[in-house]
């Protein structure tokens, strides 16, 4: 099963490689991983998407907790939460297809953030399924380049992850 794990880490050089190294050394999957500073300059927050049996996820969270740089950790998938991913996608936009692409972008509530004579660059935010659906809708033929942020997640309501 897919899990989204949020991690608060000491903002130290090498902290990211400790997490990445743990996953490769122990043979765990990483589907996506994002890391950035937070409102507290001493910690950075990592969102990690992984998958595995309950036993494996339990080991992953225990092993992550064991890392000295990990301050706190929350498996978002254990409770109500929201997830978002952002995608920048460059599309071939010529001829009659140009108008059709614009309509698709509107349907998916994306924004065209750059226009050239032959391309559109689109910004799209949503859960990963929505981004996948958009890629499928526009079709491989017009896709020139795709950049995805990886998944961000946050728990609903009062529950949170603070250092």
């Amino acid at each position: 099963m897919r899990h989204i794990i949020s991690i608060l880490m000491e903002n130290e050089a090498g902290a990211l490689s400790r997490v990445a190294g743990l996953f490769s050394a122990r043979g765990y999957n990483i589907e996506s991983l994002t890391v950035a500073p937070t409102e507290d300059p001493t910690v950075s927050r990592m969102t990690l998407v992984t998958s595995g049996s309950e036993e494996i996820i339990e080991q992953i969270t225990k092993q992550l907790n064991k890392l000295v740089d990990v301050v706190k950790l929350l498996d978002l998938t254990e409770g109500p939460h929201m997830e978002r991913e952002m995608m920048l996608i460059k599309l071939r936009a010529t001829g009659t297809g140009r108008e059709e692409l614009k309509r698709l972008v509107d349907i998916f509530r994306g924004r065209i953030i750059e226009v050239t004579a032959s391309t559109y660059t689109v910004e799209l935010t949503g859960n990963s399924g929505k981004l996948d659906a958009f890629l499928e809708a526009v079709g491989e033929l017009v896709i020139l380049e795709v950049v995805r942020s990886g998944v961000l997640g946050i728990a609903r309501g009062e529950k949170g992850l603070r250092a």
Binding site: M9, E10, G14, S17, G21, Q63, N65, V68, V71, A163
Partner: protein, 564 residues
């Protein structure tokens, strides 16, 4: 007072209570060596290879419970130390390794003797640090010692660039340190311990299985009390030997791949398994699918990640082993409950039957020296009171099977990583910690050659080690597997062109002996042990065809042992 980084390192070690470190100098640590030169509080032992420095520091820690310290230079100094760091990591040994690093402005430049020490050691340390600012040095060192010794212990590397050791700052010894991201559990959960006690009292066929955690956690006494109070049979892992007195009738011997028949059968057939400070390693469980099929399992460990890693556990208890066992003992006494005497009697009868097979028997009348005879005799000659280090292979298993350790911290071996070359430098570390003790290194002609250069260190410091070389002319354990599983194709397991170990020992200034007849084993050992102030290298020419029995073949369950 204002000190240089190098002076801070040395002053800190003194303030932390470190009286001995093992190391090897080099460019990046010259300032530190200069600071060592001008004081006497911290004694530095010059080894002949950095791997030996880490093994010696590691064994010093194993035999004392204190943090072992090694000091090596950058680049090759650090990479040579890696095997020793990994050895300590796999056995959870508290150790701090100080590595020199090129000056900060050269880091990342492929400078002379530069390696990414942090990157290389990351997967085999509990934690590591690069000190970029001399102002952080003292606190970082304090953190390193705190991390190494607390919770589940382990090695910590502190990488110190040369310019940091030259820079000056105000030094104050940090008496304590707090890390918000590191809060090891001490006491176990009372409710869980209560449940565990209740389950133990319900048991009809109980079994206690304990590992290195009992030794490391200083819990041998509490374990012994609890085990005797309950009247349960007990087994130790390779790392756990000495955690319970081996001569006690409740002790069934070591378990696992080369454990005793009675220990493994009792594991397989038990209905309640009490695992304490052990981690269900593959060498212990055999085929995990067939492991303890009828048992409900209690698992006490300081590391939550060890629990439910390999087997499902019914009652997990996270906490330091000693306080958990003490609390269990208290709850047991308060409850007034007693073990099921009738069921226990039937269980002991069954165990007695397994025991009567005498699975460790060997031919003492053999014309060739049996390796078992040597260890057996050593045990008698030393009165079971020696510190014994070993290397890795058949001799290690014979030592574990035949030397009966009644006390913890006497059996020093590389159980997790299985590092050949560990035994001799480890014996040095033990002898420095216990100058008046008899320290024996049981080794083989393969392993001993992996750190033979340390005979020179032993000479320099006049270490009266007793080296028992079980020389069968083969990499014995490799040969045994090749005999069993590769139809006797002995690929590269034959040791040709061996040195004359007697002359070799003599050339280093030690006493050498070669023993080839069984009747000479005991007199030779007695003579060697009596030579209190000399290192004696005893080269025992043992039966090259001898195998370690019993054995659980790979993929088999604990009840499927090969006996002879």
């Amino acid at each position: 007072m204002e000190l240089t980084g190098a002076q801070i390192v040395v002053q800190f070690l003194e303030d932390e209570g470190v009286d001995i470190i093992f190391g090897y100098p080099g460019g990046a640590v010259l300032h530190i060596y200069d600071a060592l030169y001008t004081q006497d509080a911290v004694k530095h032992i010059l080894v002949r290879h950095e791997q030996a420095a880490t093994h010696a520091a590691d064994a010093y820690a194993r035999s004392t419970g204190k943090v072992g310290v090694a000091l090596v230079t950058s680049g090759p100094g650090a990479t040579n130390a890696v095997t020793g760091i990994a050895t300590a990591y796999l056995d959870s040994i508290p150790m701090v390794v100080l590595t020199g690093q090129v000056p900060t402005h050269l880091i990342g430049n492929d400078a002379f003797q530069e390696v990414d020490t942090l990157g290389i050691t990351r997967p085999c340390v509990k934690h590591n640090f690069l000190v970029k600012d001399v102002a952080d040095l003292a606190e970082t060192l304090k953190k390193a010692f705190y991390l190494a010794a607390s919770g589940r212990p382990g090695p910590v590397v502190v990488d110190i660039p040369k310019d940091v050791t030259a820079a000056r700052t105000e030094y104050v010894f940090p008496k304590s340190v707090k890390m918000r991201s590191y809060n090891p559990v001490v006491k176990g959960h009372t409710g869980q311990i209560k449940k565990a006690v209740d389950l133990m009292l319900e048991a009809k066929r109980p079994m206690i299985y304990t590992g290195g955690g009992v030794v490391l956690g200083g819990a041998a006494e509490a374990l012994t009390e609890l085990t005797r109070e309950l009247g349960f049979p007990i087994t130790n892992t390779l790392m756990g030997l000495g955690g319970y007195p081996a001569t006690d009738p409740q002790f069934l011997g070591m378990l696992g791949m080369h454990g005793t028949y009675e220990a493994n059968m009792a594991m397989h057939h038990c209905d309640v398994l009490v695992a304490i400070g052990a981690r269900f390693d593959d060498r212990v469980t055999g085929n995990i699918e067939k492991f303890c099929p009828t048992a409900r399992i209690i698992h006490v460990d300081v590391d939550p990640a060890s629990i439910a890693k390999n087997v499902k556990v019914d009652i997990p208890i996270v906490g330091q082993v000693e306080p958990v066992l003490r609390q269990a003992l208290r709850l047991l006494r308060e409850s007034g409950g007693k073990s099921d005497a009738e069921a226990l009697k039937a269980w002991w009868d069954q165990i007695g039957e397994w025991r009567s097979l005498d699975c460790l028997k060997y031919d003492p009348a053999s014309e060739r020296i049996k390796p078992q005879l040597v260890v057996d005799t050593l045990y008698r000659v030393t009165g079971g009171d020696a510190f014994v280090t070993s290397d890795v292979g058949q001799h290690q298993m014979f030592a574990a099977q035949f030397y009966k350790f009644d006390k913890p911290r006497r059996w020093i071996n590389s159980g997790g990583l299985g590092t050949m070359g560990f035994g001799l430098p480890a014996a040095m570390g033990v002898q420095f910690a216990h100058p008046d003790a008899t320290v024996c290194c049981i080794t083989g002609e393969g392993s001993i050659q992996m750190n033979i250069q340390e005979l020179s260190t032993c000479r320099q410091y006049a270490l009266p080690l007793k080296i028992i070389n079980l020389n069968n002319g083969f990499l014995g354990m490799v040969r045994q597997w090749q005999e069993f599983f590769y139809q006797g194709r002995y690929a590269q397991s034959y040791m040709e062109s061996l040195p004359d170990f007697v002359k070799l020992a003599e050339s280093y200034g030690h006493v050498g002996m070669q023993i080839s007849r069984p009747e000479d084993v005991e007199p030779a050992l007695r003579e060697a042990i009596a030579l209190k102030d000399r290192l004696v290298f005893m080269d025992f020419l043992v039966d090259p065809t001898e195998n370690v029995y019993p054995m659980i073949p790979a993929g088999a369950g604990l009840n499927e042992m090969i006996l002879v």
